[in-house]
Each structure stands twice: as structure tokens, then as C-alpha cells.
């Protein structure tokens, strides 16, 4: 397994586990109502979210790759890295589409959506983007 591939796999697994923890916390602490009305819950989830992004970025695919030119990361790795944003972009578009369609349909009659939803949209889109980059790298290695 190439070093970049190993890092992408670790990032993806770590990201998925951490995401599962965030979802469980979100649900068990009252869902959107808890997130809107309970400041400690909002702070806790936000801190965990930032910690997840920081740790994945630290393990991160692009930073490590750029710092390790030479035999550790070669032209094939960089080409795979350059193609990974295709998966990232697709995943982000699907996430946004799902959010917008879901919220619009659910709150159609009210004519507006609770203020906290856009906040969660942002968090999930960034999260999906981060995980999709690792997934894109892994798909790239599988194909070449």
C-alpha cells in the first residue's frame, strides 16, 4: 500500500468513526431542537467537528503529499491526488441537493426553515467534502 493510500484510508476510517460519534451525540442530545436551544450541546458538537477536521487535515492527504516529494510520493500519487476533487465535488453537490430538497419539502407549508439548519448544512458539507477527498484518493488507487 502506497504511503498516500495508507493516509487516505486512515483519514477515511477516522472520519467515518468520528462522524458516527457526532451523529449519535446529535440525536441523543435532542436533535435539531437540542442544537438550537442548548448552548453546551452546540458548543460540544462544534468543538468535536473542528477537532475532526483538524485531525483529518493533520493526517491529511494533500499536505503530506506536498511535503514528501521524492520516492515517498511520485507522479502517480500526485495524479491520483489531482483527480480526487472530482469525487469531492460530486459528493458535495449531492449533499447540498439532498439538504435543499429535504428541507424545502419538509418546511414547505411553514414557508421558512429553522435558523440552525443552514449551520448544519455547512458542517455536513465540509465533512462530506473532507471524507470524499480521501475516498477519491482510494478510488484513484484502485483504478490505476
Amino acid at each position: 500500500m502506497a504511503p498516500l493510500q495508507r493516509r487516505a484510508l486512515i483519514s477515511l476510517v477516522l472520519g467515518l468513526v468520528w462522524t458516527a460519534v457526532l451523529v449519535v451525540l446529535f440525536v441523543t442530545r435532542g436533535g435539531i431542537e437540542g442544537f438550537m436551544n442548548d448552548t453546551p450541546t452546540r458548543v460540544l458538537l462544534s468543538v468535536l467537528f473542528v477537532a475532526l477536521l483538524t485531525s483529518v487535515a493533520f493526517l491529511g492527504v494533500p499536505w503530506k503529499a506536498r511535503s514528501g516529494r521524492g520516492v515517498d510520493v511520485d507522479e502517480r500519487d500526485l495524479e491520483i491526488l489531482r483527480r480526487a476533487p472530482r469525487v469531492q465535488l460530486t459528493a458535495m453537490m449531492l449533499t447540498l441537493a439532498a439538504w435543499v430538497i429535504g428541507l424545502t419539502e419538509y418546511y414547505w407549508d411553514q414557508g421558512s426553515i429553522p435558523i440552525m439548519w443552514p449551520y448544519l448544512m455547512m458542517m455536513t458539507t465540509i465533512l462530506v467534502s473532507t471524507l470524499a477527498q480521501s475516498l477519491g484518493v482510494l478510488i484513484g488507487y484502485r483504478r490505476s
Partner: protein, 70 residues
């Protein structure tokens, strides 16, 4: 361009050069062992630069290592 394939004789040339390992070839050519594996399996087509570097390791021409089957 559909159906065009770049074949190579890397595995054969490694064998002819005292059974050079993939690791050693990667080190000499400036790429990872995984890239050598991918090249030998025909999954990856190298850049012109890497192709020249591999040919240089085997002290031969690029045409002797790679063959365009288009």
C-alpha cells in the same frame, strides 16, 4: 484513441538486470514500488520523464522498454 495501449518490458528487464527488485528500480527511477507494480500490471502509463528515467536505469532506449500498441 480508444483501445490504444502502452505495453512495457519492465518485468523482463528487471529479470535481465540481476533480478533487480521493484523497490530498487523505484529508488533508481525516482518513483514508488507501488508505481512499478502498477506499471508492470499495465494499469498505469508513466509520464515521458519517468519513462526516460526507467529506460536510463536499464541503460537502454525508451523504445526498448515501452511499446505503443495503438
Amino acid at each position: 484513441m480508444d483501445g490504444a495501449v502502452v505495453r512495457n518490458r519492465i518485468r523482463r528487464l528487471r529479470f535481465d538486470h540481476d533480478e533487480m527488485t521493484q523497490e530498487e528500480l523505484g529508488r533508481l527511477a525516482g518513483c514508488t514500488r507501488q508505481t512499478i507494480i502498477s506499471l508492470e500490471q499495465g494499469k498505469y502509463v508513466p509520464s515521458l520523464e519517468l519513462a526516460f528515467r526507467i529506460a536510463r536505469v536499464f541503460d537502454t532506449t525508451i523504445e526498448d522498454v515501452f511499446e505503443f500498441d495503438g
